[in-house]
Amino acid sequence: MLALIAAAALVPAAGVLPDVTLTTMDGKAVRLREYAGRKVILFNWASW
Protein backbone atom coordinates (compact mmCIF):
# COMPACT_ATOMS: atom_id res chain seq x y z
CA MET A 1 0.00 0.00 0.00
CA LEU A 2 2.87 2.39 0.76
CA ALA A 3 4.07 2.09 -2.84
CA LEU A 4 0.60 3.02 -4.05
CA ILE A 5 0.48 6.02 -1.75
CA ALA A 6 3.90 7.14 -2.95
CA ALA A 7 2.84 6.77 -6.57
CA ALA A 8 -0.18 8.93 -5.87
CA ALA A 9 2.10 11.62 -4.37
CA LEU A 10 0.31 11.62 -1.06
CA VAL A 11 2.54 12.56 1.86
CA PRO A 12 2.48 11.40 5.47
CA ALA A 13 0.39 13.78 7.55
CA ALA A 14 0.02 14.60 11.19
CA GLY A 15 -2.92 15.80 13.21
CA VAL A 16 -6.52 14.77 13.56
CA LEU A 17 -9.74 15.66 11.81
CA PRO A 18 -10.27 19.35 12.56
CA ASP A 19 -13.10 20.29 14.86
CA VAL A 20 -15.22 22.16 12.33
CA THR A 21 -18.95 22.19 11.74
CA LEU A 22 -20.00 22.05 8.09
CA THR A 23 -23.31 21.91 6.23
CA THR A 24 -24.87 18.95 4.43
CA MET A 25 -26.52 19.38 1.04
CA ASP A 26 -29.89 19.53 2.77
CA GLY A 27 -28.72 22.29 5.06
CA LYS A 28 -28.07 20.37 8.25
CA ALA A 29 -25.07 21.16 10.44
CA VAL A 30 -22.62 18.28 10.82
CA ARG A 31 -19.44 18.11 12.84
CA LEU A 32 -16.55 16.63 10.86
CA ARG A 33 -15.36 14.67 13.87
CA GLU A 34 -18.57 12.68 13.78
CA TYR A 35 -16.89 10.66 11.00
CA ALA A 36 -14.22 9.36 13.38
CA GLY A 37 -14.66 5.62 13.88
CA ARG A 38 -14.48 4.90 10.13
CA LYS A 39 -11.74 5.29 7.58
CA VAL A 40 -12.46 8.44 5.64
CA ILE A 41 -11.16 9.82 2.35
CA LEU A 42 -11.79 13.57 2.33
CA PHE A 43 -11.85 15.45 -0.95
CA ASN A 44 -11.80 19.24 -0.55
CA TRP A 45 -12.83 20.95 -3.79
CA ALA A 46 -14.55 24.02 -5.20
CA SER A 47 -16.79 24.60 -8.18
CA TRP A 48 -14.59 27.44 -9.41
Partner: protein, 214 residues
Amino acid sequence: MFVAIAADANGVAACKPFYDKAGAKFETLVDPTNAFGRAMNANVVPNGLFADESGRIVWSKIGGFEVRDPKIIEAADAFLAAPRADLPPPIEAPPPTLEALRAQVAASPRDAALRLKLGQRLLVEKRLADARRELETALGLDARNGGIRQTLASLELEAKRPGEAVKHLREALKLEPDNYIVRKQIWLIEHPERFHPEIDWAWQRDQLKKERGG
Protein backbone atom coordinates in the same frame (compact mmCIF):
# COMPACT_ATOMS: atom_id res chain seq x y z
CA MET B 1 -16.15 6.14 3.23
CA PHE B 2 -15.70 9.03 0.84
CA VAL B 3 -16.65 12.55 1.89
CA ALA B 4 -16.44 15.61 -0.35
CA ILE B 5 -16.09 19.06 1.20
CA ALA B 6 -16.98 21.93 -1.11
CA ALA B 7 -15.38 25.30 -0.35
CA ASP B 8 -17.73 27.99 -1.54
CA ALA B 9 -18.66 31.20 0.26
CA ASN B 10 -22.05 31.08 -1.46
CA GLY B 11 -22.91 27.92 0.45
CA VAL B 12 -25.17 25.04 -0.52
CA ALA B 13 -26.99 26.97 -3.26
CA ALA B 14 -23.76 27.36 -5.25
CA CYS B 15 -22.63 23.77 -4.82
CA LYS B 16 -25.90 21.89 -5.29
CA PRO B 17 -26.06 22.16 -9.10
CA PHE B 18 -22.61 20.51 -9.38
CA TYR B 19 -23.62 17.88 -6.85
CA ASP B 20 -26.82 17.12 -8.74
CA LYS B 21 -25.08 17.12 -12.12
CA ALA B 22 -22.49 14.64 -10.87
CA GLY B 23 -25.23 12.40 -9.49
CA ALA B 24 -23.09 12.16 -6.36
CA LYS B 25 -23.84 9.14 -4.19
CA PHE B 26 -21.27 10.06 -1.57
CA GLU B 27 -21.58 12.41 1.38
CA THR B 28 -20.99 16.03 0.37
CA LEU B 29 -20.51 18.83 2.87
CA VAL B 30 -20.24 22.55 2.25
CA ASP B 31 -17.67 24.78 3.92
CA PRO B 32 -18.83 28.36 3.25
CA THR B 33 -16.41 29.95 5.70
CA ASN B 34 -13.38 27.87 4.63
CA ALA B 35 -13.09 26.64 8.21
CA PHE B 36 -11.83 23.25 7.04
CA GLY B 37 -9.30 24.74 4.61
CA ARG B 38 -7.92 27.04 7.26
CA ALA B 39 -7.66 24.24 9.80
CA MET B 40 -5.61 22.29 7.24
CA ASN B 41 -3.46 25.32 6.33
CA ALA B 42 -4.67 25.03 2.75
CA ASN B 43 -4.93 28.18 0.68
CA VAL B 44 -5.74 26.27 -2.49
CA VAL B 45 -8.00 23.43 -3.62
CA PRO B 46 -8.33 20.57 -4.50
CA ASN B 47 -6.97 18.75 -1.47
CA GLY B 48 -7.18 15.16 -0.31
CA LEU B 49 -6.82 13.62 3.14
CA PHE B 50 -6.96 10.03 4.34
CA ALA B 51 -8.05 9.67 7.97
CA ASP B 52 -8.00 6.41 9.91
CA GLU B 53 -10.64 5.09 12.29
CA SER B 54 -9.25 7.09 15.19
CA GLY B 55 -9.72 10.35 13.28
CA ARG B 56 -5.98 10.68 12.73
CA ILE B 57 -4.98 12.09 9.34
CA VAL B 58 -2.34 9.76 7.95
CA TRP B 59 -1.91 10.85 4.33
CA SER B 60 -2.63 14.09 2.56
CA LYS B 61 -2.07 16.07 -0.58
CA ILE B 62 -2.65 19.81 -0.29
CA GLY B 63 -3.25 21.30 -3.72
CA GLY B 64 -3.36 19.33 -6.94
CA PHE B 65 -5.26 16.35 -5.51
CA GLU B 66 -6.75 14.82 -8.64
CA VAL B 67 -9.56 12.59 -7.48
CA ARG B 68 -9.87 10.87 -10.89
CA ASP B 69 -6.15 10.01 -11.06
CA PRO B 70 -5.99 6.18 -11.29
CA LYS B 71 -3.09 6.19 -8.82
CA ILE B 72 -5.17 8.13 -6.30
CA ILE B 73 -8.12 5.80 -6.80
CA GLU B 74 -5.89 2.77 -6.32
CA ALA B 75 -4.28 4.27 -3.20
CA ALA B 76 -7.71 5.13 -1.77
CA ASP B 77 -9.03 1.62 -2.41
CA ALA B 78 -5.95 0.10 -0.77
CA PHE B 79 -6.26 2.42 2.23
CA LEU B 80 -9.92 1.57 2.73
CA ALA B 81 -9.35 -2.15 2.28
CA ALA B 82 -6.39 -2.40 4.66
CA PRO B 83 -7.17 -4.21 7.90
CA ARG B 84 -8.13 -2.11 10.82
CA ALA B 85 -5.00 -1.11 12.67
CA ASP B 86 -4.54 -1.36 16.40
CA LEU B 87 -5.45 2.25 17.02
CA PRO B 88 -6.31 4.41 19.97
CA PRO B 89 -10.01 5.07 20.44
CA PRO B 90 -11.66 7.62 18.11
CA ILE B 91 -11.42 11.26 18.98
CA GLU B 92 -13.71 12.16 21.82
CA ALA B 93 -16.22 14.66 20.56
CA PRO B 94 -18.19 16.35 23.29
CA PRO B 95 -21.66 17.48 22.21
CA PRO B 96 -21.19 20.54 19.99
CA THR B 97 -23.94 22.54 21.57
CA LEU B 98 -24.24 26.24 21.03
CA GLU B 99 -24.54 26.59 24.77
CA ALA B 100 -21.16 24.91 25.23
CA LEU B 101 -19.57 27.27 22.72
CA ARG B 102 -21.23 30.29 24.32
CA ALA B 103 -19.97 29.18 27.73
CA GLN B 104 -16.43 28.94 26.34
CA VAL B 105 -16.69 32.44 24.92
CA ALA B 106 -18.10 33.76 28.20
CA ALA B 107 -15.14 32.24 30.02
CA SER B 108 -12.63 33.76 27.56
CA PRO B 109 -14.32 36.82 26.10
CA ARG B 110 -11.13 38.17 24.52
CA ASP B 111 -10.37 34.98 22.61
CA ALA B 112 -11.01 35.92 18.96
CA ALA B 113 -10.55 32.34 17.73
CA LEU B 114 -13.27 31.10 20.06
CA ARG B 115 -15.62 33.88 18.96
CA LEU B 116 -14.85 33.00 15.33
CA LYS B 117 -15.78 29.39 16.02
CA LEU B 118 -19.03 30.46 17.66
CA GLY B 119 -19.74 32.87 14.79
CA GLN B 120 -19.16 30.11 12.23
CA ARG B 121 -21.48 27.80 14.10
CA LEU B 122 -24.19 30.48 14.30
CA LEU B 123 -23.78 31.13 10.59
CA VAL B 124 -24.20 27.44 9.75
CA GLU B 125 -27.42 27.58 11.76
CA LYS B 126 -28.52 30.72 9.85
CA ARG B 127 -28.62 32.88 12.97
CA LEU B 128 -27.20 35.79 11.07
CA ALA B 129 -27.66 38.61 13.58
CA ASP B 130 -26.03 36.61 16.37
CA ALA B 131 -23.26 35.47 14.03
CA ARG B 132 -22.57 39.04 12.93
CA ARG B 133 -22.29 40.22 16.53
CA GLU B 134 -19.77 37.50 17.40
CA LEU B 135 -17.73 37.97 14.24
CA GLU B 136 -17.56 41.74 14.51
CA THR B 137 -16.48 41.40 18.12
CA ALA B 138 -13.86 38.86 17.02
CA LEU B 139 -12.62 41.22 14.33
CA GLY B 140 -12.29 43.99 16.94
CA LEU B 141 -10.07 41.65 18.94
CA ASP B 142 -8.00 40.40 16.03
CA ALA B 143 -8.12 42.65 12.98
CA ARG B 144 -5.41 40.63 11.20
CA ASN B 145 -7.34 37.37 11.17
CA GLY B 146 -8.24 36.52 7.57
CA GLY B 147 -10.56 33.75 8.74
CA ILE B 148 -12.81 36.26 10.49
CA ARG B 149 -12.96 38.37 7.32
CA GLN B 150 -13.73 35.33 5.21
CA THR B 151 -16.50 34.25 7.55
CA LEU B 152 -17.97 37.75 7.55
CA ALA B 153 -17.93 37.62 3.74
CA SER B 154 -19.87 34.39 3.81
CA LEU B 155 -22.35 35.97 6.21
CA GLU B 156 -22.82 38.94 3.88
CA LEU B 157 -23.46 36.60 0.95
CA GLU B 158 -26.04 34.80 3.03
CA ALA B 159 -27.60 38.22 3.74
CA LYS B 160 -27.58 38.96 -0.04
CA ARG B 161 -25.04 41.75 0.30
CA PRO B 162 -22.32 40.75 -2.18
CA GLY B 163 -20.71 44.20 -2.18
CA GLU B 164 -20.07 43.95 1.56
CA ALA B 165 -18.80 40.41 1.10
CA VAL B 166 -16.23 41.57 -1.45
CA LYS B 167 -15.03 44.30 0.94
CA HIS B 168 -14.27 41.66 3.59
CA LEU B 169 -12.64 39.35 1.06
CA ARG B 170 -10.41 42.15 -0.20
CA GLU B 171 -9.30 42.84 3.36
CA ALA B 172 -8.62 39.11 3.80
CA LEU B 173 -6.58 39.08 0.59
CA LYS B 174 -4.48 42.00 1.82
CA LEU B 175 -3.63 39.88 4.85
CA GLU B 176 -3.11 36.70 2.84
CA PRO B 177 -2.11 37.55 -0.76
CA ASP B 178 -1.32 33.90 -1.51
CA ASN B 179 -4.74 32.66 -0.47
CA TYR B 180 -6.23 31.54 -3.79
CA ILE B 181 -9.49 30.49 -2.20
CA VAL B 182 -10.14 34.08 -1.13
CA ARG B 183 -8.96 35.47 -4.47
CA LYS B 184 -11.22 33.18 -6.45
CA GLN B 185 -14.20 33.96 -4.25
CA ILE B 186 -13.81 37.60 -5.20
CA TRP B 187 -13.64 36.70 -8.88
CA LEU B 188 -16.69 34.50 -8.57
CA ILE B 189 -18.76 37.30 -7.05
CA GLU B 190 -17.56 40.02 -9.42
CA HIS B 191 -17.36 37.96 -12.62
CA PRO B 192 -19.91 35.16 -12.37
CA GLU B 193 -20.03 34.90 -16.16
CA ARG B 194 -16.45 33.59 -16.08
CA PHE B 195 -17.53 30.62 -13.98
CA HIS B 196 -20.93 29.60 -15.30
CA PRO B 197 -21.88 27.70 -17.35
CA GLU B 198 -18.21 26.95 -18.02
CA ILE B 199 -15.08 27.94 -16.11
CA ASP B 200 -12.90 30.27 -18.17
CA TRP B 201 -9.42 29.12 -17.15
CA ALA B 202 -7.65 31.42 -19.62
CA TRP B 203 -9.41 34.41 -18.06
CA GLN B 204 -8.32 33.27 -14.59
CA ARG B 205 -4.69 33.03 -15.70
CA ASP B 206 -4.84 36.52 -17.24
CA GLN B 207 -6.61 37.94 -14.20
CA LEU B 208 -4.02 36.52 -11.84
CA LYS B 209 -1.23 37.95 -13.95
CA LYS B 210 -2.95 41.34 -13.95
CA GLU B 211 -3.52 41.34 -10.19
CA ARG B 212 0.04 40.20 -9.59
CA GLY B 213 1.27 43.15 -11.62
CA GLY B 214 2.75 41.02 -14.36
